[in-house]
């Protein structure tokens, strides 16, 4: 076999990718020995727009446009960091409704990732099936917020729409159906050779590497690193609604799938608990003043830790808004995982990362 090194690009447009990211692989025969990444294809200058074009009370709507899948997490993280710089108190009911939307978002985002993983394993039928099962969750979000994708549901002071009794019933019915489907899927991902044997040991990240490269979210938890911002913050009532950290070991594609599937189950439990016990109260309260000082806020988005840094000086325009998205921080871990893998596995490994490029380039 020759020792010649061949450069193979993956992206920025590739049939297995939905989003513009470019990895340049240096391969020795089939094996990837070095990786170069380029992620800045869709930079839109949102951070600058937020400090020059929009007042602080409108930014929750602007940052929701950073990402289509985790729009609600972006607007919630911004809103909570801005609220900590203002005077006022969010009602318990609004907090519960916020968590409900974030967890529904996590369910459908994880299902999207799982469907792409199965598609990249050559399992088109399962891709279609999971996408179909995901549809009721999108419908629930539409029933709650009025929109399917860009919810514009969270604003400073609380949430924009109340939840009706009929929607609560719909949520209970849909989630009960979904739980059965997810349990079937767990069985499928564990026992079907296309998804289990094929993915065991592929794209593995050890616990030590996960710590060294600061892996986040499901990638870190699949490697056995116990980290979840939902238990590192007490601003949202996660401890009251039955949140449990899901971890696995091995750090390969199989482990990441398992973490995602079990997280969906945990999110379903949390949503059911929320719906059965939404407290009474106002959905929106008035906040006084203009943001003054610095605030830093972290929240667990479907792909990992999302961080917002807000600095204001009692003016309608903010001085600085910094968005740190999970995929952006995980790129060095991605590159590390690719090293030593077969080139043919690269699309499947990439799909299992669940990368979000519009978040990364913002």
């Amino acid at each position: 076999m020759s020792k010649k090194i061949v450069q193979i690009p993956l992206g920025s447009q590739h049939i297995s990718l939905l989003e513009p990211v470019k990895f340049k692989f240096s391969c020795e025969n089939e094996k990837i020995i070095d990786v170069d990444s380029d992620v800045g294809f869709v930079h839109r200058g949102i951070e600058r727009a937020c400090t020059t074009k929009f007042k602080y009370d409108k930014i929750a709507y602007v940052v929701a446009r950073v990402c289509g899948l985790c729009a609600i997490t972006h607007s919630l993280t911004y809103t909570m960091s801005a609220e900590s710089l203002l005077e006022g108190e969010v009602s318990m009911k609004a907090k519960y409704l916020r968590v409900l939307m974030v967890e529904l978002d996590r369910i459908h985002s994880h299902m999207l990732c799982l469907s792409h993983v199965s598609e990249n394993a050559g399992y088109e039928a399962l891709f279609m099936q999971i996408m179909g099962d995901r549809e009721p969750i999108m419908n629930l979000q539409e029933k709650i917020s009025g929109n399917r994708v860009q919810f514009d549901y969270i604003d400073i002071g609380g949430v924009n729409r109340d939840i009706s009794l009929s929607v609560e019933d719909d949520i209970k019915v849909s989630l009960k159906e979904l739980r059965g489907k997810i349990e079937d899927l767990i069985n499928e991902f564990e026992n079907n050779y296309t998804l289990s044997l094929r993915f065991k040991g592929i794209g593995a990240l050890s616990l030590k590497e996960a710590q060294e490269f600061n892996a986040l979210g499901p990638i870190a938890r699949a490697a056995g690193l116990v980290t979840d911002v939902r238990s590192e913050s007490n601003d949202l009532p996660y401890s009251e609604i039955g949140f449990k950290i899901v971890t696995s070991s091995g750090g390969d594609i199989y482990a990441r799938n398992m973490v995602r599937l079990h997280e969906i189950l945990n999110s379903i439990t949390m949503c059911e608990n929320i719906v059965s016990g939404i407290p009474e109260g106002e959905i929106k309260t008035k906040f006084k003043g203009k943001p003054n000082g610095e605030a830093l806020f972290r929240l667990e988005a479907p792909r990992g830790e999302l961080m917002y840094y807000v600095k204001g000086s009692s003016k309608p325009m903010l001085d600085r808004l910094r968005i740190k998205t999970p995929t952006f921080a995980s790129i060095p871990a991605f590159v590390e995982i690719f090293k030593g893998q077969e080139y043919a596995n690269a699309p499947a490994i990439l799909a299992s990362f669940d990368p979000c490029m519009s978040c990364t380039a913002k």
Partner: protein, 118 residues
């Protein structure tokens, strides 16, 4: 969330972060810049502990446009991305970090620095 701010200098930042950073208990979030006025920028290294309630540590230093910020990639490999971002967004030189992560040659340069006006 609480922020513990620790002031450092360009000379001792790498040493202080090396001493502070333990990959098993802490993770590096990002390198952040905040424009203070037209020439001065505050550079922040943000850390958070695993599984500790509301705990964030920020090392910060105020730099001029012509200062060179030392790189912490030797200690924390994942810092490479945010270092490149700061180079693009603030026009501040960071040791061993290339330009061009987000911005092309012909686009608006250092858009987040204090001196930038459209």
């Amino acid at each position: 969330m609480k922020i513990n701010k620790i002031e450092v200098t360009l000379q001792n930042v790498v040493e202080k972060i090396t001493k502070f950073y333990d990959p098993t208990t802490t993770h590096f979030l990002t390198l952040n810049g905040v424009a203070i006025d037209e020439t001065k920028t505050e550079i922040q290294w943000i850390f958070a502990d695993y599984m500790k309630l509301n705990d964030n540590t920020v090392f910060y230093v105020v730099v001029d446009q012509e200062d060179v910020v030392p790189s912490i990639v030797e200690v924390i490999p994942s810092a490479i991305m945010s270092q490149r971002e700061v180079v693009d967004m603030f026009g501040i030189e960071v040791q061993n970090s290339a330009k061009g992560l987000y911005l092309d040659e012909d686009s608006l340069q250092k858009p987040l620095s204090g001196g930038c006006t459209l």
